[in-house]
Amino acid sequence: MSDFVQAVARRVGAEGEQAGEVLARHGVRESSILPRPHRLLVKRIAFTGEKAGKSTGPVDFSWDLDAGLWCVTADNLRGKSSILEIIWWCLRGSNDLQADVRHWIHHVHLNAQIDDEPFTVNVDTTGDQLAGSLTIGAQEYVTPFAGEAEFASVMGAFMMDRLGLEFLRGWRKDRTASAAGDEQDADGQVIVTSWPAFSHALLARNREGDALLGETAQGGTMISLLQMFVGLPWTTTRRDAKAALDLLQQSVKGQRRRAQQDLQARGTSLQQLEDQLARAREAAAQTDAAPSLEAAAAAIEQAGAHLAELTARHTDLVQQMQQTRQAEDELHETLVLDQARLRDLRETAVAQRFFGALKPTCCPRCSTALDQIPHSGLDEHHCRICGSAPTEAPVDTAATDDLAASVDTLGQAHQQAKKAARQAANAVTVSEAAMTQAHTALTAAQAAMPRESALRAHLEVARLEGALTERQAAERHAQQPQTQSMEEAVLDAAHKEANKRATAASEALLGKVSTEICRLAIRLGMTELQAVKLQGNGTLSVTKGDSKTTFTAVTPGEHVRLRIATLLALLRVGKETGVGRHPGLLLLDSAGAQETVDVDLAEVLSELKVICAETPDLQLITATAKRDVATTIISADNLKAAGPRDYIW
């Protein structure tokens, strides 16, 4: 376990292994030891093409170079900047050429080497189409590319690898989002510094005014470049830790925000859920206490059986009742008939007795008096109308008596039958009541059946418990975390530890660089300069004429001097202290563009020449419009010059 990991672990009071694990998981690299610097040297630049527009004609340019100070000079707008830019384009892979140059150029060929490994870049353009190849090493391993994106990708991968550069991670806050809220809550994203950004260390132009190094001062580019010139130990670690911490905090913040939105979106509150759960638990307890489904079913079954039994008995009783009623009806009918017959018999007998005793007076048909009809002479006992003999037998009362006895018997039987029928009807009434009771009992048993099974009630409890747990978790996420998580703490500690170490390491180094910048800037003509201080974040404070100012506030001429001085100081200090990682190639465009006095450029070029001599592995390629100055100071071998109003190619 490294000293750094242990230091981080001590800061958070955690086990070293745990801290190491967190750092590894978030890709926080330790960078106490810097890789050795590599050397980039351009050997030859050549290109062909066809000019169009005001000036026409074929183009065929080639220039062999080596270490040391090189200069291309011509009138302004005669192509000298284009040469530097074409070199830079080939090394970078990204198109930064001016539109007209890009238009007429057909073929570009660059020979260069990194350390002792040669490589060649060939690019062919036809209209908007681009194709080419990167050939590496003595074996001439060829990587073809088509299109600008692929060109950039191939050059980026090659350079990052061969120059031993690491991708630098940083964090950039989302400015547009923060406009609405406060800065603290703004989201951001991890940005990665790769070759297109690093490559700015190779080129210094006078177009940009605010940045000491590179194109702009934004997004940590300056620090990345500074890191490239003088590899400051622990800065990579610091950046890694910071980026990881920012990412983690954003993640936590997002989680909290989502949880809050989630909570708002969901209607039910924690309290509601708790109430629901309490009710569900109560219901479950009730279902547990209530008679079981089986018991209830058994009760229903029993009640049903009882009802069925009573119903059957009732049916029997009804049938019995109907039978007794029918018997009674039949008896009654017979009784009435017999009574009627008895009445007829008795009445007839009595009436006959009376009529028999009467003496008819006339024929009922003709009203003839009876003493005038033939039978009138017969005795008293014969019928005086029809002359029939008197009835011998007295009136037979036996039939009447029998019938009377039968009527008595029938009457008694009928009374009994009536009683039986009444009893049967009573039995039916009682049975009906019992049946109604049994039916009520069955209905009650059915009503007592548990409406929901205990299982369902328990399932509801489980569901609500789950919902409550989820809800509580959401609430926790939504709440402001009380303490940092271990991850956050470790990353925070790593950032602080790395920062401490980086600051300690860079202070001495930046002090040396600052001294060197001051010295070189004075040599380059800033005679009033008293002190320069380069800070770890890439800002440069300047003291001249007893007052403090900044890099961005000085005059354009001083800008150029300070920039060149800074570049050279970084190279030199890096070289001296063994932490310099710059590949040693510098493209200086229009070093004297802002100068109004020729001697100033002469001074700069002279000094650059001396500095190159002092610094063996440096290759400086400059472009200037001051042809006279250039030809005076730079040897013809190292100079590419065009005549007045001539194109350099």
């Binding site: 009574q339 009627a340 009445r343 007829d344 009445e347 009376f354 006339c362």
Partner: protein, 223 residues
């Protein structure tokens, strides 16, 4: 269908004439037979009176009609009589159904009347120009008939009910004509609906229910 014996028919008619016959006035036109004491004018009236006598449920219902429409001279008496008529098996035992004929309930009277006539108990007179144009038959009770009725009333308990019932029939019918009585009897749905030549069925149960209802209303209103 139950048929009464000839003597029963004779006894019944005798009591009807005795109880329901109008007292005979002085003989003004020489048509009233010698010794007549009462008369029922027209066969229609005689048949109608006989129908009520032998169908106690219809008689009871008419009593109830009179109670309800307020024409009963003594409502309590009517209700008591109606109840007695419907008592026990009496309606069935004393019922002698009649056929529905051209002008309502009808039964041939000749045999029974012949018995009464031949014994010198009654007389029958045709009104109009007999034998071709008889407008009406009038039935006279002679003094001998009244004597026999009195004798039967006193000495034959088995026959006494005819006399009692005839008295109720008179109370219901009064001296209304046969046509008026027929119309009254036709108001009974069962009577009216009976097809020609078929026996007119009883209405006992319906009248019993009606009696209970009316009695209940009366005791209710009395209270």
């Amino acid at each position: 269908m139950r048929r009464a014996s000839r003597v029963q028919d004779a006894v019944r008619l005798l009591f009807v004439l005795d109880r329901c016959g109008a007292q005979c006035g002085p003989d003004t036109n020489g048509r009233v037979p010698q010794g007549s004491v009462a008369v029922v004018q027209g066969q229609k009236r005689l048949q109608a009176l006989d129908f009520w006598l032998r169908n106690p449920d219809y008689l009871a219902d008419e009593l109830l009609n009179q109670v309800e429409n307020g024409t009963a001279p003594d409502a309590d008496w009517s209700l008591t009589k109606a109840r007695a008529l419907l008592e026990g098996d009496e309606p069935d035992i004393s019922r002698y159904p009649m056929l529905r004929w051209r002008f309502g309930a009808w039964e041939a009277l000749d045999d029974a009347l012949a018995l009464l006539f031949s014994h010198g108990l009654t007389a029958v007179e045709a009104v109009g120009e007999p034998p071709a144009k008889v407008e009406r038959w009038d039935y006279y009770l002679l003094a001998a008939g009244r004597d026999l009725a009195a004798e039967l009333r006193a000495d034959a308990p088995d026959l006494a009910w005819y006399d009692e019932r005839a008295a109720i029939v008179l109370a219901v019918a009064g001296q209304r004509s046969g046509t008026q009585l027929k119309e009254l009897q036709y108001q009974q749905a069962e009577y009216e609906r009976t097809v020609w030549k078929a026996s007119i069925s009883g209405i006992t149960e319906r009248v019993r229910e009606r009696l209970e209802r009316i009695s209940g209303q009366r005791t209710g209103s009395d209270a």
